[in-house]
Symmetry: C2
Subunit: 217 residues, 2 copies
């Protein structure tokens, strides 16, 4: 029992170390030796849990996916306004990027376009667009969105804008201004979505972003 | 003279080979040997032109930047509607991504967040946001944009959405649907920008994107 406990701890240490190393130097440049060194674990212990670098990377993408989808699911279950939920969801995803090595590494691995990871990398984007589509539908059902808004295109736009804000923020400030960037982004984006130009969500985007971000951080 | 001509050709061959290899496997995983092999050139010839991998990567980012800014500048010089220019610019940038190895590699290098490339990588984003800001100002000056549109935030949103569309398209379809993704994106994005909901740009985004894309391709 103590031995199984130790095995689980070693496995978690390996995943966390791999997240740190992949997040720092990417998939192709990372060796299993880099990971065992970071985890202070033997090669033998690594091979007990994982067959290959690819298996570790897929596990990290899977965990990132679970964490991100977990955030999505909790908003899908809430009874709050659809538009407010989407803004809060973006704050929570941003906070995960800023504070969780597994999420940061998972996103990096997802964009490395290594062919052997392609399948695993597509799933989170598909899920985020899907969750966003449901929240927009909910907003449309209660008349929050303007007549004729293309919900599929709007859901894709939200996810593209959020993904792009991350990359631009990473390039310009090493991600330090990600939350401020979302604060500037949302009012302009929502103006194109709302039916009522005085919808309260327009003036509360900052609060919604930081409430979620604080909860994660 | 013939010798100088040959040296120039070798240098160009090295840059194009480096673009192909960096585009395929990223910065850290690429060795100078990978590049000389791809270019079918000796190590000595490489060192005659470039001191290091970093110097080659910076040259590629610089060229990508020149090509992207070149597209921006030609639109800044045109007398066309500001909003139409922005849409056409996105079509041209997308076509560069799809057809030019230097642009594809430059973008990849820009997102690798290797610390030694950080300065070079930030410049294109800053320039794109700046060019977009000028085009939006032009649109605002002739009353194309709605009252109270935050032009700084809108310029950032355009560049984030475009950048994100690229990454989502790369993850989901290996970039094959990038132009279709822009086609769906623009009408929704522009709805939040225009003063007149019947502005002709809203129904002509597909034409604007493909005109530019065809010109590059």
């Amino acid at each position: 029992m103590a031995q199984q406990q130790r095995a689980t701890e070693t496995k978690e240490a390996l995943i966390n170390a791999a997240a740190v190393v992949f997040g720092r130097q990417g998939y192709r440049a990372t060796t299993l030796r880099d990971i065992t060194r970071e985890a202070a674990v033997t090669q033998g212990a690594l091979y007990f849990h994982f067959d290959s670098k690819q298996e570790l990377a897929e596990e990290i993408i899977r965990r990132q996916h679970t964490m991100s989808s977990g955030a999505g699911a909790s908003f899908l279950a809430s009874t709050e306004s659809g538009l407010s939920s989407i803004v809060r969801l973006s704050g929570e995803l941003a906070a995960q990027v800023l504070t969780q090595p597994v999420v940061r590494a998972g996103l990096r691995l997802s964009t490395e376009s290594a062919d052997d990871l392609a399948g695993a990398a597509a799933a989170p984007y598909r899920d985020w667009i899907g969750a966003c589509r449901i929240l927009l539908e909910r907003a449309a059902a209660v008349g929050e969105t303007r007549e004729g808004l293309d919900l599929d295109a709007a859901a894709e736009l939200v996810i593209s804008s959020f993904t792009g804000a991350q990359f631009v923020s990473a390039a310009l400030t090493g991600s330090e201004d990600l939350l401020e960037r979302l604060e500037r982004m949302w009012p302009v984006l929502l103006e194109g979505f709302v039916r009522d130009p005085d919808h309260p969500v327009l003036s509360s985007t900052s609060d919604l972003i930081y409430q979620s971000a604080d909860r994660v951080a």
